[in-house]
């Protein structure tokens, strides 16, 4: 369809507030009588709490209250507790909070609290915990994740015979399809490599500060959250209240990258402290605290065995992942990684095995492309190795094994809605001048050597079943109510333009209602999982269709005849036969208010979510209200895919390399917002560069204390670590199972970008496989000079 808004750049309504400093984040709010809370956190990686004595602290001047585990809802282990009770599991785990008239008084009071700890053995490496007699991260066990009950697993000492090969004892989860034995038997080339991918913190720039107070029985929480309505029930659960009694104000979110999806436990502390002391409470989270509780990507220790036919087709894949899961319920990255391998390279037969192992390190959770993105930077160099050994072009071998819309995914070999990664590889290769650049591969210029990289990324990128909510007011404005949150992707606005486009409303007449529960917000997807662009294109589509039907109906009621006699035009509804017979949208809105009932939101469809019903009730009677559930069909996974290309110049004398050129092409369906696409691709590539060469957890093995917690140690990329310019494009082929053709793209560029760098490094070094991320400068230098690496082959949380 010809579009006026879709595919065009625009000025999102919240960007001027960001460049002028007027955008209010959680720490920018104040309330009368507000006090400050500070956390007391565990100084030990693993200990029993025998006794806590707060009597001296309570006597300190300015102290107004203490909140401990006894004051907050408890959840069955290994769910992440709000405050630790009898056992602490990592350095920095919150134990209690002190509220005082200022932070200095709270901090002084914390110094007076006496805690009697009994130190317990700690573990920082999953393989140490799986070794017979090895330490457990919890008294109750060492293996757990969602859907995997807490248990103690020890492998046989004989499993650990070779320290360079991943031991593969009994897994906690496995699936397979096809005949992998036959596949490996038929294979011309088998590549079998063990690998390590580092865990590291999300490092959101805005720490998870929150301010809360209670009024009229409701909790008002000013927090930093990626999502809005999808988070409310979960945050209410942490506070222990009915979701209806939580007013969440989250207009801006200073980064989350997966760590602030459905709310998070610490949000309950200022809320419950406020309830306890009956004063507004601000709890500012420090950078060190953010490192501890701000979620980290799980580490993988893995092994991939890949069997290729002579022509490069992947016949069999055998993947084992030991997933470092932190001390609590953690994340499911291992599952996503298995699915990603099965989908991205379409092995004819595959076996997946995994075990999530607990360590005394910060809690794990989603980080931008959880699972898929740490896997590909170690798998893509193996694909290149196969290409080299079989004499096949590196783009060609990827296209040969790439999925399309008929391909299957995962252990159950389910369907997907579309896949155009081959087209993305072609487009990227053309933009990159692949044939010309690959000729420079390995070329030396003095101490410099050129490396050419290519990487792919995948994440599921769409969902369905949520609600759309639109409102036309008598001033002629179209209000798009959205509950997806504001992570900075601008998808709240880009998807609102779907409704504006379909209803022929000028963008200047669109108001976006978001960020505050009191505005009447529908049940929408979390702003996570590359979901919102695709999912809320659907909800705004169905709501726009519902509003269109209402508008035609209202025109017939005002002007006579039946709805079929009318059509919607530029902010008016006109007779098909006589264009002069028309009503404006403003008139329709007034008529809807007069008629009430289903026109003004006083009656709503039965199938919408209760959260949406509550939202509609807040705005009922204020205009023409269209609310609808997205019941459009969607069968299978909606994949977002990217292909990245990079050229580097590696200095063999210093081990450092410069990224000379980098670009990424996305298969994200119809492009809603080109600048927004650029942000997701370039930002993802930047984080990918961090993954490939810089970021990792480092722990003191004896003391279990973090050594890379602050930003200068943890090394998120700066301006100087990344190219000044990163190219981007999209294949622009619509997804057939989205009414606007849209798929998401937030996550894949991280994985493809990281892979383009790891493959470029391997290329520059004559095909050498580090089988490890990040590939640090000293690792490169050690390899070039024949020196041993500082870390043991499969060691994690090390330098």
């Amino acid at each position: 369809m010809a579009t006026k808004l879709i595919g065009q750049n625009f000025v999102p309504h919240d960007v001027v507030a960001k460049v002028t400093g007027r955008a209010k984040y959680a720490e920018d709010f104040r309330a009368d009588g507000m006090v400050f809370a500070k956390l007391l956190s565990s100084p030990m990686p693993h200990a029993k709490i025998r006794h806590i004595d707060t009597s001296e602290a309570l006597k300190m001047p300015g102290v107004v209250g203490i909140l401990s585990a006894d004051d907050v809802p408890a959840f069955p282990p290994p769910q992440t507790p709000i405050l630790a009770k009898d056992e602490v599991f990592y350095v920095g785990e919150p134990i209690l909070a002190v509220a005082a008239v200022d932070e200095q008084s709270a901090a002084d009071a914390i110094e007076k609290i006496k805690i009697d700890f009994e130190q317990l053995p700690h573990v920082l490496d999953p393989l140490d915990s799986l070794y017979p007699g090895g330490p457990n991260a919890r008294l109750s066990g060492n293996v757990a994740a969602a859907l995997i009950n807490m248990q103690t697993v020890k492998w046989q000492a004989s499993d650990f015979a070779d320290d360079k090969v991943l031991p593969m004892g009994k897994p906690a989860e496995t699936w397979s399809y096809g005949d992998i034995d036959a596949g490996f038997k038929d294979a011309k080339l088998i590549i079998d490599e063990s690998f390590v991918t580092a865990g590291y913190s999300n490092h959101s720039m805005e720490p998870r500060t929150a301010m809360a107070y209670w009024q009229g029985g409701k909790c008002f929480l000013y927090g930093s959250n990626q999502s809005h309505t999808a988070a409310v029930p979960n945050i209410a659960r942490y506070i222990g209240i009915n979701p209806k009694d939580l007013v969440l104000i989250a207009e801006y979110c200073g980064g989350g990258f997966g760590s602030k999806i459905p709310g998070y436990p610490i949000m309950a502390v200022p809320a419950l402290m406020s309830k306890k002391i009956n004063r507004p409470v601000m709890m500012r989270i420090t950078r060190l605290e953010e490192y501890a509780i701000g979620v980290a990507r799980p580490t993988f220790q893995g092994r991939a065995k890949l069997g290729f036919a002579q022509d490069g087709r992947l016949l069999a894949a055998d993947l084992y992942i030991v997933h470092e899961n932190g001390p609590h319920i953690g994340a499911g990255d291992f599952r996503s990684a298995g699915n990603a391998l099965s989908f991205m390279y379409q092995p004819k037969a595959m076996r997946f095995q995994a075990i999530p192992v607990l360590t005394n390190t910060p809690p794990r959770g989603p980080q931008r492309g959880p699972g898929e993105n740490q896997l590909v930077p170690v798998i893509e160099p193996l694909i290149d190795k196969a290409a080299r050994e079989l004499g096949i072009d590196r783009v060609a071998i990827r296209k040969l094994n790439a999925p399309d819309g008929n391909s299957k995914i995962g252990g159950d070999q389910g369907p997907v809605t579309s896949a155009f990664i081959k087209e993305a590889l072609d487009k990227g290769a053309a933009m990159f001048n692949w044939d010309e650049r690959k000729a420079r591969s390995g070329q030396k210029n003095g101490t410099k050597v050129t490396g050419v990289g290519i990487g792919q990324g995948y994440h599921s990128a769409g969902s369905n079943g949520f609600d759309g909510l639109l409102r036309l007011t008598p001033d002629g404005k179209l209000h798009v109510h959205t509950g997806i949150g504001n992570l900075g992707t601008y998808s709240h606005s880009a998807t609102a333009r779907v409704a504006a486009e379909l209803l022929n409303v000028a963008w200047a007449n669109v108001v976006i209602e978001r960020g505050d529960s009191r505005l009447g917000l529908p049940w929408n997807s979390p702003q996570a999982g590359s979901l919102s662009a695709s999912t809320e294109s659907r909800t705004n589509y169905v709501a726009a269709m519902a509003m269109k039907a209402q508008l035609l109906d209202l025109a017939a009621q005002i002007l006579g005849g039946s709805a079929d006699d009318y059509e919607v035009g530029d902010e008016k509804v006109a007779s098909k036969a006589d264009a002069s017979k028309s009503i404006t949208y403003a008139q329709a809105a007034q008529k809807a208010i007069d008629l009430g009932g289903k026109y003004s939101g006083k009656e709503v469809p039965d199938d919408i979510n209760p959260v949406t019903k509550d939202g509609v009730a807040m705005i009922a009677g204020t205009g023409l209200i269209a609310v609808a559930k997205d019941n459009l069909p969607r069968v299978g996974v909606t994949p977002g895919l990217t292909a990245s290309f990079a050229e580097i110049e590696l200095d063999t004398e210093t081990g450092k390399f410069k990224i000379l050129h980098m670009l990424t092409v996305a298969d994200c369906g119809t492009v809603l917002h080109p600048q927004g696409l650029g942000h997701q691709i370039r930002g993802g590539n930047v984080m990918g560069i961090g993954m490939a060469r810089l970021e990792r957890h480092v722990y003191d093995p004896k003391l279990g204390i973090p050594a890379a917690a602050l930003l200068y140690q943890a090394k998120p990329p700066t301006y100087l670590d990344v190219p000044a310019e990163i190219g981007f494009a999209a294949v622009e082929l619509p997804d057939p199972q989205n009414p606007m053709g849209v798929k998401g793209v937030g996550e894949p560029p991280l994985g493809s970008g990281a892979s383009a760098i790891t493959t470029a490094i391997a290329d520059a070094m004559g095909g050498h496989l580090f089988n490890r991320t990040p590939v640090s400068t000293d690792m490169i230098l050690n390899e070039l000079n024949g020196r041993p690496q500082a870390h043991k082959p499969l060691q994690v949380n090390s330098v």
């Binding site: 001027v16 002028t20 720490e27 300015g62 200095q104 900075g488 942000h679 990329p717 301006y719 100087l720």
Partner: protein, 224 residues
């Protein structure tokens, strides 16, 4: 201009390309050492946990006036206005402007001089306000993000360029990016991309919007 040059984590591969700029930065930036010396001179201890100051007139402060908590009324020149404010010796400028002057556009991302979200200008130089003692900038011209717009609220050319290039993603680092860019262009109205990159390198962006911010800086410079 550029302050506390964050540098490349991987070393200083770009420094040789802009030696004069580095020299400038080293000369003009209030260093961490100067900050610590300032704290020692004031007789207060600086806590790594940061921004832990007693609220004025609280029971806590009255009951136990510890070292470093005695307030002095000072006059600050902020965004062209004279602001009188009670300040304790170990108070940082970020704390004063956010919590006492109500200017919350300046953000605290790390409070350790690592991220640049708190960047403000003092006499036209970009500095980290989390690592600057308020007492040390008395009598100097302080410009926060709230003072960047024109007198009638028109966007500064850097702000307008950041809107046009869609500079921000989450927006938390944006105030600092704007102030750093304004300071850069005040000192060097027509920077090369390489100079702009170096000057902006003290401002971290976890969203990775560097490309968009740099385009914004160059666009603003083109309109200068």
């Amino acid at each position: 201009m550029a302050h506390n040059d964050h540098g490349s984590h991987d070393g200083g591969e770009h420094h040789h390309e802009a030696d004069s700029l580095v020299t400038y930065v080293q000369r003009s930036a209030p260093s961490r050492r100067a900050f610590i010396k300032g704290v020692i001179a004031s007789g207060a201890a600086v806590s790594a946990a940061g921004y832990l100051f007693r609220a004025p007139g609280t029971g806590a402060a009255q009951a136990q006036p510890a070292a470093g908590t005695v307030e002095r009324l000072v006059t600050l020149n902020v965004n062209g206005q004279s602001r009188r404010v009670d300040v304790v010796p170990n108070e940082t400028l970020a704390h004063t402007i956010r919590y006492k002057l109500g200017l919350t556009g300046t953000k605290l991302g790390c409070d350790h001089g690592e991220c640049g979200a708190c960047t403000v200008m003092v006499d036209g130089d970009a500095i980290y306000s989390c690592s600057t003692l308020t007492h040390s900038v008395r009598g100097r011209k302080i410009t926060t993000i709230e003072g960047i717009e024109g007198p009638n609220g028109q966007l500064h050319k850097v702000q307008a360029a950041f809107v046009a290039e869609l500079g921000p993603q989450c927006g938390f680092c944006t105030s600092g990016q704007v102030v750093s860019a304004v300071a850069l262009l005040n000192h060097n109205p027509h920077p090369t991309v390489e100079e702009a990159r170096l000057a902006m390198s003290g401002n971290l962006c976890r969203c990775g919007a560097y490309d968009h911010y740099l385009r914004g800086v160059m666009r603003a410079a083109g309109e200068a």
